[in-house]
Amino acid sequence: MGPTTIRSSAILRAAAIVVTVGFAFPAGYLVWRNFTFHSDPLGVLFSQRTQGPLLRTLRLAALVSVSTAALGTSLAWLTTRCDIPLRRMWQALLPLPLVFPTFIGAAALIRTLNPGGLLSDWLDNLGLVWDVEIQGLFGAWLALTLFTYPYVYLPVAARLRRLPGSAEETARLLGDSPPAVIRRVVLPQTATAISAGTLLVFLYAISDFGAVQLMRYDTLSRAVYTTRLNNQPVSMALSVVLLVLAAAVVLAERGATRRFEHAAPVRSQNPVVYRLGRTKPIAVAFLASSVALALLGPLASLADWTIDGIRLEASGGRDLLVGWEDVWSPAWHTAYGSILAAAASVAIVLPAAYLVVRHRSRIGTLANAVIVSAFALPGILIGLALLFWTLQTDVGSHLRNTLVLLVFAYIVRFGGQTMRTSQVAVAAVSSRLTDAARTLGAGGLRRFRSLELPLMAPGLLAGGGLVMLSVMKELPITLLIAPFDFPTLTTKAFNSIEEAFVAEAGIWSGALVVLSGALTWLFIVRRSDYFD
């Protein structure tokens, strides 16, 4: 190893340490404040006030995990391995519910399914009465299931597409029936993808704020939010409980992946396709109702809100509070904030990815662990920690109400998403290529500019796209610490929904869904292979 390599890796290491400290800061501050803020931290921590929300969080997350695992896996199976008609259409539609932030999805469900909504209107015309109220545990479970199953669907579908057909054919030749092949050959090889996706959903469910807020189901994150102003000790204690829960899940995941590591990453040319036979209509109906509930229904109700509002205004009933020209500024804020966060995340995570892939350094491994674990940190905690920090310390007060603080929070929350893709990107630049460039006389800067950057670009873009999409849909951080003069589509939509300005909610949500839909298409649907 030449002297230049040694010097540059020292810079990399310093960068990785700074980044690691930054990512650990919000969680660290929260824990530290909890034990220094008031006299009886442990008393509150183990009181009734925390136990109820904790149990509700666990119940909801467990139910959502089971249902998304089942739904995501079966949808993936049907669309990748069965002779379903219009397969490409289903494959394009099924990831799309990701475009809905859960609070918009939940609001849309309420609007569609509750009495007085689209469904009951429609049933009224048929002379039927519908009076099931969607709220509480059931509502939150339904919303989270419908809008997070793609986290299971995408990796499982990618995995199923890649499984070599030869293994399944061998099992058939050895005497297995198709169901036995699925059980003995396909499922074991898909287990990593299913469990990874389900874990993501579990984390999502414990940290979700939007759906539980709209469905009025008092989980930890909602309780943290509602107590933050008038009962800070309880809010802090709830935060720590939530933090411990998230950490426990991450640790459990570490243990679990170690046992599942034998799945071989092979690219298959022709996966085996199974014939559905007489069950085909049932399968198609299942796919259609999933798409209807998770995608078309919500879209229809967003459109319905907007049209209702416009009609009302036209008939002189009530003036809309927003004109079309008012949409631009929040939409620009949303795009601007998410692009900033995405670019900064990629730039910040890249040194750590280099250290892990190229230098196999211990600091790199530590940075990797901290950055990736920070992804499990619920947004409400990051928002709360930084909010309290700006309110209670002199250093922090300088950052109160600034874009810098907001972007920093986004990076901590979502930067970890770029770690995988950045590592893939760094690994794509083989050392042979950089060696070749060196023997041709190219110095470090020229190599980075002419070789490494262009080769890494697709992976870095994919990671940045993921961050952009997540930031756009993000609610609690934006709600808590976005500068007052920086309204985004999320805050506008959330406030309109909470204040029951239905038409405005439709417009803001519609704009947000269009933006995030475009990004989902660009970065997730087209690049689903990146997430296997």
Partner: protein
């Protein structure tokens, strides 16, 4: 031994990776315009040696002197990008995001780029391919682009790391001849690493046979083939049977007949007998000493394994038209230029 006026010399270089010693007190010298083949089994340290010369690795001990300047060792260090050493990698390592012109011109100063690129592409017989992307080229074409890229900046020394191993057998032979002619015409000094004996013998002005981090023998291709330094080299550079015999001066007597020796010897020896130097006289001959064990048809000729009554085997390459089948009794006859004998350690 390093020569004072050699273009490149590697002097007493040691290199270890962890506990594994890859190069042990390694010496090598190369004159301007010379083409050296480095032949050795995989893992013998060939590639590490090339990477050391290029500056992609740093020696633990010893020096590397290039064109009169120490580039590694004794506190000297010159970065690979400053050494002017060209390298053709085993997998060619073409930049996938650059077209052929971008690849070939990568090491050439911007002002001369266009002219140099087309000139070099003419040289490697790939004219007018500037706009093609590497992944649209055939294996042979990619190989030539890699070569063009390495020679375009006019390096002092060109290193080739198993450059033909990714080509299929038929193409390999053709490209090999082309490359040799090209390098000779352009008077490029080159070190060429391979584990393929045929390639090493065909390409090198000189061949250095390497094993376990050291050079075992160095010489012209015919020297290495005809006068191997030890039985391992004899076996590594070509097919050989180590046949027991009793030496008496310039002749060794084996059980089937006499074998002329390159160097006089006495007593129990084993002779390195190349299969092409053995003829088989067919059955019907009363003196037949061997039985045909195995016959491998190889087209123009066949490789025949015969054994004497004690089970000592001898290989013979015979014309494909000769009708021999397993079980036949035959008499081997030695018919080539004198062979090399080694003292027998397990003499009975």
């Amino acid at each position: 031994m390093p020569v004072a006026d050699s273009l490149l010399s590697v002097e007493g270089v040691c290199k270890s990776f962890g506990a594994t010693e890859v190069l042990a007190d390694f010496d090598l010298a190369l004159n301007a315009g010379e083409m050296l083949s480095l032949l050795g089994p995989s893992g013998c340290g060939k590639t590490t040696l090339l990477r050391l010369i290029a500056g992609l690795e740093q020696a633990d001990r010893g020096r590397v002197v290039l064109d009169g300047t120490a580039v590694d060792g004794d506190g000297a260090w010159s970065r690979p990008e400053d050494r002017q050493v060209g390298m053709v990698f085993q997998d060619w390592a073409l930049f996938p995001h650059l077209d052929v012109a971008g690849n070939v011109g990568y090491g050439v100063p911007r002002r001369q780029r266009t002219a140099e690129v087309s000139k070099t592409l003419e040289m490697v017989n790939l004219p007018r391919t500037q706009d093609r992307m590497p992944d649209t080229l055939s294996g042979g074409q990619q190989q030539r682009v890699a070569l063009a890229r390495a020679i375009a900046p006019k390096p002092k020394v060109l290193l080739l790391d198993e450059p033909f191993s990714n080509l299929d057998a038929a193409l390999r032979r053709e490209v090999r001849t082309e490359v040799r002619e090209l390098l000779q015409e352009a008077e490029i000094t080159a070190v060429f690493v391979t584990h393929d004996r045929e390639e090493a013998l065909a390409l090198g002005d000189r061949v250095a046979v390497m094993n376990a981090g050291r050079i075992v023998q160095e010489g012209s291709p015919s020297e290495v083939y005809r006068q191997p330094a030890n039985p391992w080299v004899a076996g590594f550079v070509g097919g050989v049977s180590m046949y027991p015999a009793s030496a008496a001066g310039n002749v060794a007597h084996a059980d089937f007949g006499a074998i002329p020796l390159l160097k006089p010897d006495q007593g129990a020896v084993e002779v390195a007998v190349r299969p092409e130097n053995v003829d088989l006289l067919p059955d019907g001959n009363r003196a037949a000493t061997h039985i045909v064990e195995r016959l491998e048809f190889q087209g123009a000729d066949s490789m025949v394994t015969v054994a004497n009554s004690a089970g000592v085997r001898l290989q013979a390459r015979v014309s494909g038209t000769q009708s021999i089948k397993p079980g036949d009794r035959v008499l081997p006859v030695f018919s080539g230029s004198p062979a090399t004998a080694f003292a027998r350690s397990d003499a009975d």
